[in-house]
Symmetry: C2
Subunit: 429 residues, 2 copies
């Protein structure tokens, strides 16, 4: 059989995808049955590192999603538009979709999956989260028989590279960001990565699959790594932690779902603590399974293209076994349409690391202890850990506390004259 | 829809499987459509921790594989017979198979998959390798679009528990084995685990999937951990290594496949080095993907049952979407029937750690260097590392060498008077 596909986009991932398909020896044999009919690009004249047959390139993206011969549309444009409109047109034309576009799925997943279910087509998105690491399918197909209690991921390679580099070389955020931009690990506009938006897109997708409810992307609490200082990384290390940007989804069995992205202190002996550089990892916990961790390259041409192509051959395998296209296999389709009720941040339970700059150490330590206690915030440690000029630095690590209680205590503490400032508040896993 | 299944076996994993299916709230919704019609056991009177409807238990296992209502037979008996015969009868009767039985698949996979392809049924076996960690499906469905170059696993929990305990507590093999047996982490007859046979069963299954060729189980070179001493673990640590029982399959792109199970020195900063206790991990390397690691609980009731049930709902999902049962989806069936040509051990390339006991240190070091050099064995280090009574201990670590060359050098070295004995030869990853 021949399965005819159209690619939208021939950037890094698009090129990697075409390269795998056009060089199929030694790979999944189904690849030999995949034919790239059209590739939609902006510029026909741009030099390309992959050689396509004449006439395959086109700037008419609409023609691809309307081509009756094309069975699978592979959307690798990124961004919201025209990706969303092209995906929806392709779906209405009965085409299966493979996409690496977390932004569009995180925001328009509802519209896209509803259309796909009506049209009886699949929308696969393994490449949208954690690059080449199989995450979406294992979560949906294998781990979902468990009652999932948490999905915790390091799912943004740029920020993990920056934090790793800050940690190993004692550098500040701005310096490492500049270097990462030079090396191509960070975009010229790094906002989506360093402010946590990209990780929030991805965890909203993982949470929807793990907990079987649609998620409103804009409700996800999201904090980036711009405010993380070399000082905090160094103090965290002294206390036995590393700093990671974690995307966390917790819920299950009648509990409100909580989804959040924020820098987090992770104990050095935790499996996620050793995931360094541009690597990604997703830790899934469920009952009766326990903890499973999936880790590897979270970005890059080859890794992401590997995930895209695995989805293409997945659809091809289904078409091969079931060319009638009856009902969708619930393991590959979206079977929920209710929205999750997200827990407000004030109600979550977590530990906190907080650094205070102050000028009256004995007095402050007593006051901190009393004030936190009054608000039901139980402390693990208060340590006077260093100095910044003539101000003493005090680091407080709490036990698990309700975030609302902690914030109330902090609001009260801020008013104390002896507190010069509170430079850092970082949650602890 | 209702999907009717029959279980063969109600031991630890069978009980875990029934528990998940009978308590489906908060899990994959397809579980609500699974009905356990019969469970085959040896003894109807034995107390069970799971409550089944009256009449579900039967000692007549044949009746389950011949029951026309049962669509999926779940084989959890373990061992070769009657598992093999029951699986084959069920297949001939058009039933899909879910099994956790690595021993029967490793030895009779050819016969079983040939029969399954003829009958148009699936034989799924996620639980056969690495317990609750999704490994089989990711390898087959997601990673297989890459040119796989290696699959390296810690896939026997018992030996990993023993080696971890020997390492952290400085104990000898026999003591830790006895303790593991008391705790239920090792069988009364530990042969299959500690001599590497269980890991060899599992790597033969992974290799067949990763490299697309059937594997003759009896051709796999297999060495266990009985001879690993606390001394070697301690010396390895001094040199920056930990000792792990690795199952290794390497090949791809015209190279002969090599499959082997043996204790291995693993660099302390390698991802597999931190997989401790009864945990398992599988590291897959391919082009263009890079390295992906899947890790988690490799055994135990809940973890293994999670994998069994994921396969059951996988078949149910397919039946739901395609009740005609046309062709098999190549992502879930076996599509190769040629046998791999395995590379003889003498031809593999690896590093070696070797410990010598000798009584003439300066002379021996010169002789070792010369003799290894003569046989093209390039050395990384020769260190006189300790003493055993009046004998000096010399540890040699080689670069990557051909095993045949190394063995020839060793045969010559053994004849030297100054060499009292060669207590340890361990490959290095």
């Amino acid at each position: 059989m021949v399965f005819t596909i159209g690619l939208l986009g021939l950037g890094t991932v698009g090129t990697g995808t075409a390269e795998i398909i056009l060089d199929s020896e030694g790979r999944n044999p189904l690849l030999q049955e995949i034919k790239i009919k059209q590739v939609g690009v902006n510029n026909l004249e741009k030099p390309r590192s992959v050689t396509l047959d004449p006439g395959v390139l086109t700037t008419d993206l609409e023609s691809i999603v309307n081509d009756p011969e094309i069975e699978i549309v592979v959307e690798l444009l990124g961004g919201l538009e025209p990706a969303r409109s092209l995906i929806l047109t392709a779906i209405r034309n009965g085409k299966h979709i493979v996409t690496a576009n977390k932004a569009v799925i995180a925001r328009y997943g509802d519209e896209i999956y509803t259309a796909a279910n009506q049209a009886g087509v699949y929308v696969l998105l393994e490449a949208a989260v954690a690059g080449g690491i199989p995450v979406i399918k294992p979560l949906k197909q294998s781990l979902g028989v468990n009652r999932i209690t948490s999905v915790i991921g390091i799912i943004n390679g740029t920020t993990n590279y920056i934090l790793t580099k800050m940690s190993t070389e004692g550098l500040d955020f701005a310096d490492v960001l500049a270097e990462a931009q030079e090396l191509g690990y960070a975009e010229a506009d790094p906002t989506a990565d360093v402010d946590g938006g990209d990780a929030a897109d991805k965890i909203s997708i993982l949470a929807a699959i793990a907990f079987g409810e649609r998620v409103k992307r804009e409700e996800i609490s999201c904090e980036g790594i711009r405010q993380i200082s070399a000082t905090d990384i160094s103090y965290a290390e002294d206390l036995g932690f590393v700093v990671k940007l974690l995307a966390i989804a917790k819920g299950g069995m009648g509990q409100s779902l909580q989804i959040r992205v924020h820098p987090t202190l992770v104990s050095q002996d935790h499996p996620l603590a050793n995931v360094n550089g541009v690597n990604n990892a997703v830790l899934v916990e469920g009952d009766p399974l326990g903890q499973v961790m999936l880790s590897g390259p979270g970005a890059g041409k080859g890794a992401t293209a590997s995930a895209v192509v695995s989805d293409i051959v997945n659809v091809a395998g289904i078409l091969k076994s079931n060319s009638q296209g009856k009902d969708l296999d619930p393991h590959l389709s979206c079977n929920h349409d209710n929205y999750a009720q997200l827990m407000p941040l004030a109600e979550i339970t977590t530990r906190f690391y907080t650094r205070f700059l102050c000028n009256d150490v004995p007095g402050v330590i007593g006051y901190l202890g009393t004030c936190f206690g009054k608000h039901d915030v139980s402390l693990e440690s208060i340590v006077q850990i260093g100095f910044q000029e003539d101000l003493a630095e005090i680091v407080v690590v709490t036990h698990d506390v309700k975030e609302g209680d902690f914030r109330q205590a902090l609001a009260e503490i801020e008013n104390l004259d002896a507190i010069a400032s509170i430079p850092s508040i970082i949650r602890v896993l």
